[in-house]
Amino acid sequence: MPILAIDTATLVSSVALATVDNLLAEITLQTKKTHSELLMPHIAKLMDMAQVAKSDLKGVAVSIGPGSFTGLRIGLSTAKTLAYALQIPMVGVPTLAAMAYGCPVPGVILAPMLDAQKRNVYQALFEWHQGELKEIQPAIVTEVTAALESLSQQERPVIVMGESAVMYRDKIEQIGKNLILAAPHVVIQRASSVAGLGYKLIEQGVRHDVMGLEPLYIRRSEAEVLWECRHGVAK
């Protein structure tokens, strides 16, 4: 019995059906079409082609960010709608961790970076240790050049992934050293990785509430601080 996985955290639109140890089907598109037009038709096509009925679905895993504001909202609301309507469990999967999960290489640092605008990136660092994915640095918003310079000081090879790795490809090549730009099929988000990490979380007993799950907006706290400064904290 498969789960459905969704990643719409950037312009990449990816949906997958996977069981715990098998990827049944995946549709990944990197076009400029908006997710609001693509996502549901893709899910319908995917299930049709893989001959998976709605009643076969055992859960929904969705990429929750950080990432594109609009993309995350579309992905989350779609996942929530399906989980609610089909009465199946839902699990939110951190986007950057899912990317690292799709690249199980020991001995290197995995550095997924997604666009946070104004030359900033959302960045987290991971490594694989004895078959387990470990987070070295949680997701932050950081200026891209400083982030790349800092990574180039590391002693280990660093695989840079994500849309910002592609966007700042020249910068990565210019710095060179230990920085490696991930290959095109690894550099983007894949729903299959969301499914993989999703299963991992489900195994650990993680379930998210359909009504309560929110996207992971890294700057959110900042907005709240500003709000509180201006309006005073309610007591």
Partner: protein, 163 residues
């Protein structure tokens, strides 16, 4: 800085059409002027010039309207926003760096949050001084960045309302 003058609502709308000829996807226009200065009229003319069929009105309560034309147009009205953090909440930075044309009404509320380069248009009416009887509008256009300076030059050559 360029200065233009229109003497009727129709002309203000026609000035918007002049803008449509020089603007393209990826550009940002900041629009400043008091309530009733004619900002919406200008945007309506601009949208018409871009071949947008949707009805165009100021997104005072929705904050953002998206119109589909040859390229998407993101029409912001920041009037009701109270702090810069709310810009993040509406995905402002994503839109202004995306492949559409961004029009930002009340851009002067958050000058520090604007993109690095843009076209800045300030509309002033003589409404108050003339007891509402005069329809004259002065439109000041400033450019920030070389790309927009070039656009100003094109506007100077092509728009008949130059003062």
């Amino acid at each position: 800085m360029l200065e233009f003058k229109t003497t009727s609502p129709e002309e203000t709308s026609a000035f918007g059409k002049c803008l449509a000829k020089i603007l393209s996807a990826g550009k940002v226009v900041c629009l400043v002027g008091d309530l009733g200065a004619g900002k919406t009229l200008l945007v309506q003319g601009l949208a018409e010039g871009l071949g947008i069929a949707d009805s165009v009105h100021s997104p005072t309560f929705t904050i953002l309207n998206v119109y589909e034309g040859r390229f998407p147009v993101y029409h912001f009205d920041l009037y009701r926003l109270e702090n810069a953090g709310e810009l993040f909440d509406i995905g402002f930075y994503e839109y202004t760096e995306a492949d559409g044309l961004s029009i930002i009404e009340w851009a002067d509320k958050f000058p520090e949050e604007l993109p690095d380069e843009y076209l800045w248009i300030e509309i002033r009416s003589n409404y108050e001084n003339n007891e509402g009887s005069v329809e004259e509008r002065v439109l000041q256009v400033r450019a920030l960045g070389a790309t927009y300076e070039q656009l100003c030059e094109e506007l100077k050559q092509t728009c008949q309302f130059l003062r």
